[in-house]
Symmetry: D3
Subunit: 290 residues, 6 copies
């Protein structure tokens, strides 16, 4: 009985969060180790199903993982490189889409379904969910002049129409979204999964955007910072304390919040059940931006 009571007390500690998030939408960018290791995959799937049964509406946007590169390698595709960046040409884009939408997406769909959820796999192309435009990477050249770099079929989301997601949520289906979209001209474009998650979260006025990463969160001088806001982030970026790959992640969070999302989180996907720990416990996990 002791043990059972302890269990129940643990469940009851989640009650304030159930009351707070009941009926709300949480958009989760799923990627990294959490998508590779079997244990973490299973724990993530359980998290999504539990959220749904707790009356919270999860929407998952997933990244690609190592499988894209494997297939590109197996096919001996001759990819061009410009300034060290791979250019996504049409054959590469085809592989990217096949792996993301035809393999990774369906694995996630099936995994969560096995745990008891009703998942529907989508890409940004389905039901007019997103429209994208070509993304030109900007950089400063040696002379400090702003240049733009054409990385091929890489895009950024210009419009989101969430009516398909709303339709599916109304019938308790969980949308699992692959970060591929299409341009007005009908070109298939590869989208960064973080920014795709952010754009979709904004279109849904989501309660939370959670980026599942392979870091403990935002580290400043090697220490995890659990709470930040726009002002602090700006300072840290200017001081160089936030740098490299973390910059686009925090910017994606800030963009989503400008678009109407209440809170954004960068959490550690290497910890089992990190999503539930974030949503349902007092201590939470990772960094909260609000």
């Amino acid at each position: 009985m002791e043990l059972q009571l302890e269990k129940i007390n643990h469940i009851l500690e989640a009650l304030p969060y159930l009351i707070k998030y009941s009926g709300k939408t949480i958009v989760i960018k799923y990627g990294g180790a959490a998508m590779i290791e079997e244990d973490l995959k299973a724990s993530f799937a359980e998290d999504i199903v539990l959220l749904k049964y707790l009356g919270i509406n999860p929407v998952v946007v997933h990244g690609g993982g190592p499988e894209i590169n494997q297939l590109i390698k197996s096919l001996n595709l001759n990819t061009q490189f410009v300034r060290g960046h791979r250019v996504t040409d049409e054959p590469t884009m085809e592989v990217v889409e096949m792996v993301l939408t035809g393999k990774v997406n369906k694995q996630i769909v099936s995994l969560i379904q096995e745990k008891g959820g009703k998942t529907v796999g989508l890409s940004g192309k389905d039901g007019g969910l997103t429209l994208a435009e070509k993304y030109l990477m900007e950089f400063e050249d040696e002379n400090g002049k702003l240049q733009s770099l054409d990385l091929g079929l890489v895009g950024k989301i210009s419009e989101v129409n969430p009516s398909l997601i709303r339709t599916l949520q109304a019938e308790d289906f969980i949308p699992i979204i692959s970060p591929v979209s299409v341009s007005k001209e009908g070109k298939t474009l590869n989208i960064n999964a973080d920014t795709m998650a952010g754009a979709i979260a904004a279109s849904l006025s989501a309660e939370k955007l959670i980026l599942v990463t392979d870091t403990p969160g935002i580290l400043i001088d090697g220490q995890l910072v659990t709470g930040l806001n726009k002002q602090k982030i700006d300072e840290y970026i200017r001081s160089g304390q936030i740098s490299g790959g973390m910059i686009p992640k925090v910017e994606c969070c800030l963009d989503a919040m400008r678009g109407g999302v209440k809170r954004a989180h960068i959490i550690d996907g290497r910890v089992p059940h990190s999503v539930l720990i974030e949503v349902l416990t007092n201590q939470g996990i990772g960094s909260l931006i609000e």
Copy 2:
């Protein structure tokens, strides 16, 4: 992080039960110590709120507790006794109703409301919820002849119209029901709370009927029996191993199941969170009749 993971794992152990009971109705007879001790009252209130936020629909029918006798005593009511049983005359019935519907019911309403639930207190008189008829206690006299004993304004439920409960559930209100009803002739009648809970559970085709008692469950030769069915119960009654006050409780359970309730439970209200332990853990608590 260890602790948080443990918490989340405890929550996840409840997932199969959430999947099983999502959207279902559970009728709970609330009484005994769980209605008297402050800690148990708080733990019961939390159980009800959590069930609601887990997508399960609780309906509470409460008993009376010691407060009825206190008021009767304070008022020096001259109650008649027949064969050792108190006869509920009109002044007594008035006190019973005032305490049950005007005091106990509203305390439960407020307590659960403080924990985050939207409760509505009802008696069996409201919205035509129940109709009762006079109940005559049957007993064998010295000569083994069946006699019936008139205990005054004591009734049994003859009809339940659950439309008011359905209306309230559709808008996420939790009904808290006082065991007082009315006869066709307009007489107010006192109803045994167990049988009231059973009748309401049957009318709702409830998934479970849970009787919260001051015993560990059904004890046979001093040992708790965790699972029984109609056949076994009949045997135990015949053999006298189930006897006294436990007989009406198990009969109330069997009646409810005949009326369409899936499972009935007799659990120990002296254990904190006994309702949640029953609904959400593998081991459960008390005795299950199915």
Copy 3:
């Protein structure tokens, strides 16, 4: 045939009022003699049922009547008096609530139900219907200085959430409301039934607020005034022609109208069917404030 025709003609005279009030809500404060004398009780119950079947939505808020004092007396409660006013301490409040919510309310529920209505008894505590705060009576002391008097557990309504009433009305249940509420701190507070009716009427943007009283209406120099507005009332109060217990009644009416109620009436509950006379006949009854 003559008599039948006369009846039908009388019914037809009500047609303009049916057209005007069809689908509208009318909040009625029920109290005084109309709640005591058997004939008046029956006639009031019929009025409410008829209104409902005529497509008008009545909401009843009732007062207490002599039964509270009787029980206080029977229990020999030691009530404190401050400046001639009884202070509502906890034991008194308990009695007040039991009588109002557990006895008077259920009597009205049953009475109207017998006449054919589907009534649901509520108090201000149910479904988060009302929130109250302590009410301090203000008065001028001998030096003309404003003082406030603490009368104990007496409150005034600070918030009304009519969603429970709307839910019940949508399914044709008639709410019967007991004037007891709760404060943020969880204290049970006794509310003046007139102001409770006014606050609820305002929250529902009711078509009419009707105060059923033991006076013919507003009397000026001993004469009934059938129609008044805010300006006239202010004049009469300044001139002292409206005084005593009538002042809070007219102020309650004016408050309700500021809150969105179209018309308020103070009518004579000692006249049988006074509510229907007010709603359905050309001459009406009592005083109309608009």
Copy 4:
């Protein structure tokens, strides 16, 4: 106040009927004097509006009146007669339809609208409401042989599709129906208004069919019989005590009841407010067949 009370008491006497007929459909065949004399027309219109505001759904099917013959005469149409019966040829049918649907129907629509109802005039042609087939009058010739007489464009209803009526009732429109229909072959056919009302009442499983006539009801040996059933009617027809034009009326009532109508009435339209007297008073009026 006396008078007002009397009025209210008269209204209250109708309460049991409101409870009984609330939300039910009553089909009324309107014809005879009630359609000609100004006073009776106004009283009928008031009856219909009041029924609607009392929550009862009236459907009116009207007859023709003298206006058809006037126009036929003014146009000097050469009508053929067979065995004393006028044959409805195409020019005559055109006049019949214009008068019924274009004049009489719209007069009734406007009259009831003036009294406060929302009426919509239809004929059996609108919205696929009815389908008719040619009606051959059967008679025995001199030799007792059954012959059939072709009266031209006269029909009987073979199918009713009440979906248009249901659509209108759901939005509180009152259908006023002209007894003209169309055959499968597209021929316009004149329908007896009594049988049209009966067929429509059956298709709606109406609570009542009321035939408004120029007789006090069913007279047996000169005496009004207020209550009959199928068996008695059969006896009276066999004995010749019901004869002539009353036979098709009672047969229409019996047909409607076979089709699912609960009760049928033959009432005296020459009495003002006869419809309301029938529906709302204890004594009723005319003959009831059940």
Copy 5:
């Protein structure tokens, strides 16, 4: 197969128009030759049914045609003439209404029904659809002074309540409307069908108003002008290039557009399927005002 492909290609050319008009309302004034010649009548009926099955909501307002004059003549009505205009007295109005509402309307109802549509015939009197006031024709006398001419029971629409049309459209009924209305005083008034169609189109914020006429459209110097706007029309009227009976038609179109209609068309009803040609082909037909 060639022929079938050609057919399909023709259907496919309509696709952009289906996408554009899907779910929208188009109000069509039906009159002239299209209402007289059998072939044109059949082609018009098919047009309306096809529009409905293409997901577009047609509303038809029809004119009178020669049948009114025939009946007036047959009845030898003594019509007065003022300044060359026939004055609509009561007997004439009665004939007008009978022919329009009782004959022409029902012929259209039946014709479209035979082709597969679910039509409901209405006049402006039904369901409070329209309210009209007397129309006084203004003219300049010999001295250039503005005079007004009383033409009797001729009206113009002062109010439209489209709720009946909306109710019918929601259940896929097609309203066919006769241009007869009623004044506040209860007088039946004859309405110009063009302006009736325009007023109804405005009340429905229709996508298109189409006037089916006996002209190719707006002719300027004998040439059809396919596209015009308010400014051009004003110029043409000032210059006298638009004159006579075309002036009220273009003004009706401009009025409707001021009231919220998107586009108005004056098309040639003598061309079979002119309505479909206008709605579904690239070239369209007649004159477009936008």
Copy 6:
């Protein structure tokens, strides 16, 4: 005008089919040349969009095409062959799924979207749409004994849950379905697209199942047979006049019809707009089984 009239007449010839199929579901197996040649792809996409705007609900199940083999070849997968049949091992299944669900499906989704439809790409795994079990090919060995051949990850549909399709149809999304499913054990299985289409059509009680093939239809002695039924098909199979790859196609049609589909068609996808020709013209195309 001539040309426009011809167009309109062609559209009108489709009216009887619109009336017949309005609101009905048509399941189309899409494959072969129609999925390869640009012109045919565009014409198919237009067909689907037009059907939707005509109020008919298309559901598309597509096959694979040559792209699967290309990728298998590029990856140098070592496929095993048993009795001349390729065995689908896990690496092959992975390629099959990526191409079908990640490439072909999304191309169809985008193509139809460009023409104006709102498409959603699904596989049999999404939303629990289908469940499959391993399919063992049966054949007779040399001794005439029935043997079964294990072709690896090839399945047949054992259950269809069409609720996801219904959800999407209710909001006017067009489902495009890839023939990949999952077994109870979580194995991904390749499904024959014809039988997948048939099973889905049956679960939806579709009005029609259309198999788009590279044949003119069912040929008997080299001649197209336009209409057949079960009996005739059985005869032709026994006589060997239907043989080879046509046998599974006709059996798939018969299975679907046993499951509740009204009619099945085998049509020539090499003819542009063959789907519309089948649905909307009198002559139709290919072979009809009913």
